[in-house]
Amino acid sequence: MNTRHAAILWVIAALGISMLPQLIGMPVLVVAIALLPIVWRLLAQFRNWKPMSIWLRVLATAFAVTALFLTYGQLLGRRIAVSMLLLMLSLKLLETFRIRDARIVASLSLFLCATQFLFHQGIPMIVYFIACLLSTLTALMYLQRQEAFANLRNIPETGRSLFSELGFGLRLMLLALPVGLALFLLFPRWVSPLWGVPEDALDARSGLSDSMTPGSIQSLYMDDSPAFRAAFEGPVPSRGELYWRGPVFWDFDGRRWRGNYLGRTIDATTKPDPGKAPFRYSVQMEPTEQSWLFALDYPALEPRGASLSMDYQLITRQPITQLRNYVMASDPDFVDTPQLGLTMRGAALELPVGFNPRTAKMVAGWRRETNSDAAIIRRALAHFNQEQFHYTLNPPLLNRNTIDEFLFDTRRGFCEHYASAFTVMMRMAGIPARIVTGYQGGWYSEMGSYVLVRQSDAHAWSEVWIRGTGWRRVDPTAAVAPERVERGAMSLAIPRRHILDFEWLRDVRNTLDLLQRGWNSWVIAFDSDRQSRLFTVFGWGIFDSAKLVIAMGVTLLVAGAAIFMIMPLLLRFRSSRKQDPLVRLWQKFITKLANAGLDPQPSMGPAEIAAMASAQLSYAADVIYRITELYTFCRYSPRNSGQVELKELIQDFNPSRTDEYARREP
């Protein structure tokens, strides 16, 4: 690369790389404004343009800030602050013609890179971070070199390839690694992060929400991102038992299901006994921006900051904006609400007036035939089973009477259609019923022994209240498509969701989730609590901030000393890399001699080595003399033929195999 351009090109590259993830999610106008200064600066470099005048720069800045404000409609919030930083850094390029300015841009692009961790914390961020760090280090190195030769018109060529430059950056990063590790582990952490602002903490995520309309769960079916992972202490329940309970809906307006105010605010009066709960597991939950924790029926524990509502939803006081770990126990045999109160009963039977007359007529007919609630339930499920219902990802649109249209006209739908229709039918028959959403099934990781539940496992089912047994789960989807429950959502006879939706690819992704889980539990979930317990394995008790600071100081000192110890090794590594193949061959020979118990010193010349080696390994003396002779000849004489023979000799040279030489002797 041309040395004159190298430094500024690397600075621009560093800035570009650190901008990348931000640019992808930004409005087009802002992206354009961010890219323009880069283009201008590149042109200026190659066409020798002069720096832009101060008025133009001020004008450009004013324009950029105005555009930013108009696009986002506000000037507060994390996303806009980071966008502002990005724009300003890009605009800084307009006046970056001196080393001092270039250094500021390079350093701040590292800061920009750090801000990206506010939005994403997944494993791919490591690659991004290393790329940023490496390009910035290389840029700074070029700038340093340019400054060192500032008095000269031309910077001397170093003769180093791009790879060796990057390798140097990598070595610097390796050297800093112990220090970084010490800071990560020991720098005192706040109990809640400074950036734990809930309203825009994370980018809009899909997940179960506080209402359900036809199509809302179906949209989740497209999303393969992990929802949570559960590691069971004992045996893992069968797939048909894995109903992860989430939001519960009571109120129906003909189209949309919503949670009941009472259901959400009144705590459960009777709770399952954790001691009797057969399933115990720990859950690592991805942030959702919502307040629901997920658990199997029926949750017996209330994790910190969460409480069990009357309809057995686990609701947290604060939305879940960070990775959350909790321990849970579940008792499937718990009898939920043996006595249904009047208010709740009313809520579980209420239907909007004047909707779905055809369904009402049909259910009224069933009711006339039998008085038994159980018979009605069986009848409804049989209806789904016997009539031509299809489980499909592309159900036709429904109009006003959603249930009527679904049951009698389209007969094609997703789990929420079935759950919704079933619940309405139950209410029409006078059986208290509600809808439960959550996840069903999951992928069991043999390697990690945990169940991975993805957003695509989202499901909706019904619960009916029957005197004596309380609320009972009824999954009408199972009547239509039993494989949904038995083999998982992906086993449905539905065409591929998107172009890359192959089963083997899903398996690979499921297997790779182990990495993500490890990253989550070792890096992301390393909070102040875990930090203070870091040293308990040594029996040193809980560390408070002061103790942590002391530990950090000691570790940094030790790490610093270690770096000084490693430095010569690294330098030697570097010098050996530059050697020509002949010297590498010779080193191999020396290593073989050393492995045979000899003590060749670096200060020994070939003849000395030969004398020593042949004296101690007399059976191989001929070969040793031939090798040293050839090496001496290749390295020091004007003619350097014989390297091929030397290579063969050294590769075959095996001083430990005395028998071979003895055999060769005669």
């Binding site: 200060s603 010349g605 003849a607």
Partner: protein
């Protein structure tokens, strides 16, 4: 000016053969000092001057005499004493009454091989007369320049410095000697031979010249042809740099010494019958080249020789 040698013009191979014969002949006279003899020859072939530092009676003069004999050149010996004058070395102009003019009588320095015995016994004035002649290859007396014969080779001997009544050579003068060697006491079996075999002097008298001054000039050229690879130059430079880092010596080797080292290595490799220099040549020559140029840093309890071998053992060959 010089006697015609028995072998006026010869091929390079022949010269090398006869050089080896000469080496063997000297080894016959100065027994058990192969390495020192080889170094002395290297010094001669590298067009340098030789300094022998040792106690009296270990064979310094014998070595010089043997060298002169086998090379077949004129040989002069100057015994340095405290009352030696420059004119005693260089020569004087004497007024010839019959011709009514001054006539220059050349001193003992006008010879191909000069042995300056016990150089540190003379006053600095006499010493510098010799050393200037060594550096310039000519002497200037009363405005007239007299060229010294070619080849011109000085062997100076010097007694151990702590003896009484000596004028130690200053460092700048010592730099004019390419190599310094020390003979040391002979090994027991060699000493037994010395005691029982023929007298060295009579042996010298029977020795025939093997090469001549013209051959020496040719040999100088041959030695210059010896190949020095980049790898070896790397080692040489590493060695020079190491002498200068104040860890081993008070001051490092000068660039002139570095050039001398290179020439010496070439000559040594030539003597070994090789047409390229290897690191072992450098290691063989280096102690002799650096010993008289170096001093141990203040406060160290080691000798220069120990420092040199220590340095050579520490420095990796690149």
């Amino acid at each position: 000016m010089t006697e015609i040698t028995a072998h006026p013009s010869t091929s390079a191979n022949d010269r090398l053969e006869r050089l080896k014969t000469a080496l063997d002949a000297v080894n016959q006279i100065v027994m058990g000092k192969d390495q020192q003899v080889k170094l002395a020859f290297s010094c001669l072939l590298a067009r340098g001057h030789l300094l022998i530092e040792d106690l009296p009676g270990v064979g310094k003069t014998t070595l010089a005499h043997a060298l002169a004999t086998v090379i077949g050149v004129r040989y002069q010996r100057i015994q340095f004493t405290s009352d030696l004058l420059p004119a005693d070395i260089l020569g004087v102009s004497i007024y010839r009454r019959d011709q009514e003019k001054f006539e220059f009588h050349p001193g003992p320095i006008f010879a191909e091989l000069v042995l300056a015995d016990e150089i540190n016994r003379a006053t600095p004035k006499a010493q510098s007369a010799l050393l200037e002649a060594m550096a310039e290859g000519q002497v200037t007396i009363e405005g007239k320049t007299h060229t010294l014969p070619q080849p011109f080779f000085v062997i100076a001997t010097q007694n151990a410095l702590d003896l009484v009544g000596t004028f130690p050579l200053p460092d700048s003068q010592l730099d004019r000697f390419l190599l310094s060697i020390s003979l040391g006491f002979p090994e027991p079996d060699i000493e037994r031979k010395l005691l029982t075999a023929r007298d060295r002097l009579s042996l010298l008298r029977d020795t025939e010249p093997v090469i001549g001054p013209h051959d020496v000039l040719q040999l100088h050229q041959d030695c210059r042809q010896v190949h020095v690879s980049e790898a070896l130059l790397d080692y040489l430079q590493a060695l020079l740099a190491e002498t200068r880092n104040n860890r081993w010596f008070e001051t490092g080797l000068s660039p002139r010494a570095g050039i001398g080292l290179l020439h010496c290595c070439k000559a040594f490799a030539y003597l070994e019958g090789r047409e390229f220099v290897v690191p072992e040549d450098v290691k063989a020559v280096f102690p002799g080249l650096s010993r008289h140029r170096m001093t141990v840093p203040h406060g160290m309890e080691t000798s220069v020789d120990e420092q040199i071998s220590g340095m050579l053992d520490q420095l990796a060959i690149p």
